[in-house]
């Protein structure tokens, strides 16, 4: 036993406040989580569950980057733990991968599975992270297509001049008190304090009346005439000290116009007999991303769904993704419909247009020249026009492809992608947006 006394250190609030020592490390950890989500975004996108769900939905996202790995034993390592007193061989005591029994202690040497490696994010956050480093090509150059979508006013500082309605009474009164203190040494500290106290509340009310006097009194400040409206407390300590033009403070207001541009996303999908569920799923994922992304960049986004086989029709989202159709394929019909809708509702001078077409490329040969012509037209009026050919792995070797046909289109804002697997969706999507349109409309 030591001879010296045991030391007790009292709890101190200041220490407790200072001791948020983990703040920096927590911040760094959160950055890591975000990074990890971003790195795995392609896999997360490939998960079907996020498509078409509402924005507040919480998604479990696996976090690879921030798991702390060590050498540990695998599943064939038996453990030991304590039972209730009636343990029998063959009894089930838990599940693998989850909390294994036998380890009350979270020290090292732990088995995997105890480490948490998932986090919850809402779809909205996810989309934000996803599109953080993507830029929509050609966004700001559409002067004509900008519509004043929002007219609002915003307060921004104070000015000495302004219109009466924006007069800030409190500030004006304060200015006067300040000027009074600065100009007149005879007012003692005490008087000033008394003045300030009563002044601020009363003067605000009195300002309105005093203002009328200012017009009269300008230039003859020294005239010591007691004014009824400047407050009793003040009168007691000092002669009348009227408002001056310099005291006036006006709220300054700026008009905040948001030149929001409108965008229309035109989704054209081939719903012919050859588009099976898998192909539709891939197409759907792509459209989902496109729509979400454009929604983050424009306030006003309209989306048009066009389904076509040999003829095209505008459909609802539900029908677009779920309705099975059959028959042959005239790609040109879908484009013609799109052009028709654009002409009727989305004039290119007012709307930013994003059109995307998904098909398996199985078009009737006779339709190709017309399709090509319409595609060129679409490319001419859209900000971005894309064609995605969906060929689940392997099938491209025996099916015909439109990629060869569309290769002849010269427009720089026309882009084709080939999607073979769900893992391709994200890279193709990035590639699609990376294509910037050089030509100005």
């Amino acid at each position: 036993m030591p001879n010296g006394d045991t030391i007790f250190r009292e709890y101190r609030i200041s220490d407790a406040e200072r001791s948020d020592r983990s703040a920096g490390d927590r911040l760094r950890h959160r950055q890591k989580v975000r990074e990890s989500i971003r790195e795995n975004i392609a896999d997360i996108i490939a998960e079907e569950s996020i498509i078409g769900k509402d924005k507040d939905r919480v998604i479990k996202v696996p976090l690879r980057g921030i798991k702390e790995y060590r050498f540990v034993f695998g599943d064939n390592a038996p453990g030991a733990s304590q039972g209730n007193g009636d343990s029998r061989p063959g009894q089930v005591v838990g599940k693998t991968g989850k909390d294994r029994p036998g380890k009350g202690d979270e020290q090292a040497g732990d088995r995997p599975g105890v480490d948490y490696y998932e986090t919850d994010v809402t779809l909205e956050e996810l989309i934000e992270i996803m599109f953080e480093d993507l830029e929509l090509p050609n966004l700001e150059r559409r002067a004509l297509r900008e519509i004043q979508s929002d007219y609002s006013t915003r307060r921004k500082g104070y000015r000495k001049v302004g219109i009466r309605i924006r007069l800030d009474k409190r500030r004006t009164a304060k200015q006067r008190v300040m000027r009074m203190l600065a100009s007149d040494k005879r007012i003692g500290a005490e008087a000033a304090r008394a003045a300030e106290k009563s002044e601020e509340s009363q003067a605000a009310a009195g300002v309105e009346g005093a203002l009328d006097e200012i017009a009269l009194e300008e230039g003859r400040l020294e005239q010591a005439e007691p004014a009824a409206s400047t407050g009793a407390a003040f009168q007691r300590v000092h002669r009348r000290f009227p408002f001056h033009q310099d005291d006036l403070r006006y709220k300054h207001v700026e008009i905040d116009t948001k030149e929001e541009s409108n965008a229309a996303v035109i989704c054209i999908m081939d719903t012919s007999g050859s588009m099976d569920t898998m192909k539709k799923y891939l197409a759907r994922s792509f459209f989902f991303l496109l729509y979400q992304f454009i929604s983050t960049r424009y306030r006003n986004v309209e989306i048009v769904f066009i389904a076509h086989h040999t003829e095209a029709s505008e459909v609802t989202e539900e029908e677009f993704f779920h309705k099975g159709e059959s028959g042959g394929t005239f790609i040109s019909s879908g484009y013609a419909k799109a052009l028709e809708i654009i002409a009727a509702r989305y004039h290119p001078s007012l709307w930013n247009l994003y059109a995307f077409h998904c098909s398996d490329g199985d078009n009737f040969d006779s339709d190709n020249p017309v399709a090509l012509k319409h595609a060129e037209e679409l490319a001419g009026i859209c900000n971005l026009f894309g064609y995605g050919e969906i060929k689940p792995l392997g099938s491209r070797y025996y099916e015909s492809s439109m990629l060869n046909v569309f290769r002849r289109i010269q427009a720089p804002n026309f882009h084709t992608v080939l999607i073979e697997r769900k893992e391709d969706i994200w890279p193709s999507f990035r590639a699609f947006l990376a294509k910037d349109r050089v030509k100005e409309a």
């Binding site: 036993m1 045991t6 007790f8 050498f71 064939n76 029998r88 838990g94």
Partner: protein, 488 residues
């Protein structure tokens, strides 16, 4: 080191003052001295729950270097605490001289008294158990502080920065437990290893060498690095990777030192908690508490040392074994005398001897008797498909194996043993490691990532010899990625 996994009741304003605590402390110290506990000077610090969470995240250290993993650990602890999944410990003690312990200021007087008694027993254990002899307790706090300052400096250094520091620390943390487990065994210097290799190459002196054919002496290969397999992975890399910068070497040293500090804790968790529970019980029983306090003590004590089905509660297991040792050396049953002979020393002498010379694995091996295994209903489980199934229970056939499994999972036994065999494998500066397989395979995903970290630190290919599903295999990690090869 935490006394309990349950929070100490509702947060109420404490009905005690610091003077009360000092008075109780005086009485407890007198009792501890009377019982023969031998402690470092003790310091107590009162903290609130955020402070405690902070200490927990940083292993109790007043200063510790920054790393995101501690932020993660804090968030996790806080989430669990906020959702009521787990409570806070009543205290934390760190092995330093003077020993520092944190007390929760919201706890009731009884809990503080209980905790203080508990802390003194930990303190005694830190001072006297052999595994802590190699830790230099008087330097603990300073060493952690100095390391923290150095790491911060590297982070702030514009030519290094946080990303570079994390690159090394992430990798070092993954490998830090791959170090010497028994610090009481001295590590030989290369010169000593060389001398030993020379000795063993010559073999035993042969008294009949005149009539025997002369034995061929095979010269040991002194060029091999390492001469003997080396399990101090981080230190080995530090000393044998010539491309590491000084600050990188320093980080490896810091992580290794911290790991060695905690190895002792890991190795004695059950003994240490059992010891502390044994003595807080004994001290509080001798303090002649009034009835209210006594009842509160019984409730809290039982909460701490209760068995938790499906787990091993170190407080419970440890306390049971200590009590059993004391009983067997004080009033053994007739059967026990027949089996072990009459006790040669008193119960008190025995437990003090045991607390000095054992660690968890040997403690359980020597003192967890068949009767206790049965009484505590310890069982062995294994994974079958998705489920964990009881495979052996404490019956006549099974108890030895159950005990062996328990031993295989305590302390550092739950960490795979692997050693550096060759630092220049294939004359290619490939690092060759061998996993000393004991029937338990490595978790392959974790092995892959950990090898990746090892490669990052080593800078060249690393290979690990192990056994997977009964087949000798070589896990390789190089610039082209990870691969598994079967060995003949």
């Amino acid at each position: 080191m935490s006394a309990a996994s349950n929070a100490g009741g509702s947060p109420h304003s404490p009905r005690w003052t610091l003077a009360d605590l000092a008075e109780w402390d005086r009485r407890i110290r007198a009792k501890a001295k009377e019982f023969g506990l031998d402690c470092y000077p003790q310091e107590f610090e009162l903290c609130d729950h955020t402070g405690m969470l902070g200490y927990m995240a940083y292993s109790g250290m007043p200063s510790h270097y920054p790393h995101w993993s501690y932020g993660k650990s804090y968030e996790k602890l806080k989430t669990l605490y906020d959702h009521g999944v787990s409570g806070l410990p009543y205290e934390m003690v760190i092995n330093s001289n003077p020993a520092i312990a944190y007390l929760m200021r919201d706890n009731s007087l009884l809990l503080q008294v209980l905790t203080i008694a508990h802390v003194y027993a930990h303190n005694d254990f830190f001072k006297n158990n052999f595994t802590f002899k190699s830790t230099r307790a008087e330097l603990t706090i300073e060493a952690f502080k100095a390391a923290a300052m150095r790491v911060r400096r590297y982070v702030e250094d514009p030519s290094i920065g946080v990303d570079q520091v994390e690159r090394i620390l992430d990798a070092a943390h993954a490998l830090s437990w791959q170090c010497r487990r028994n610090l009481a065994i001295k590590k030989l210097t290369p010169a000593q290893q060389m001398a030993r290799a020379e000795d063993s190459a010559q073999g035993q002196p042969d008294p009949f060498q005149k009539i025997h054919a002369r034995k061929q002496i095979e010269a040991p290969d002194f060029h091999k690095v390492p001469l003997e397999p080396d399990e101090d992975l981080l230190l080995f890399i530090r000393d044998h990777n010539p491309f590491l910068a000084d600050w990188e070497k320093d980080l490896l040293t810091i992580v290794d030192e911290e790991a060695k500090y905690f190895i002792s804790m890991m190795e004695t968790k059950i003994m240490n908690e059992g010891w502390a529970s044994y003595w807080h019980k004994k001290i509080l029983e001798s303090l002649e508490l009034d009835q209210g306090l006594h009842l509160e003590f019984i409730v809290n004590h039982n909460q701490v040392v209760r068995p938790i089905p499906g787990q091993i509660n170190p407080y419970h297991l440890g306390l049971k074994i200590w009590e059993d040792i004391y009983r067997r050396f004080t009033s053994p049953t007739a059967d026990e005398i027949k089996r072990d002979g009459p006790p040669v020393k008193s119960g008190a002498e025995k437990i003090f001897e045991v607390r000095e010379v054992e660690r968890d694995a040997s403690f359980i091996r020597r003192y967890l008797t068949e009767d206790l295994v049965r009484e505590l209903d310890i069982f062995e489980y294994e994974a079958r498909g998705e489920e964990l199934v009881v495979s052996k229970v404490a019956d006549d056939d099974g108890w030895r194996e159950v005990k062996a499994t328990l031993i295989a999972n305590v302390g550092t036994n739950s960490i795979p043993v692997m050693k550096v065999e060759d630092a220049d494998f294939g004359r290619n500066r490939t690092l060759y490691l061998k996993h000393y397989h004991d029937g338990r395979d490595l978790h392959i995903e974790y092995a892959e990532k950990s090898l990746g970290y090892l490669q990052r630190l080593w800078g060249r290919e690393v290979v690990l010899e192990t056994v997977l599903d009964g087949k000798r295999s070589l896990l390789c990690c190089n610039d082209r990625g990870f691969s598994v090869r079967a060995l003949k």
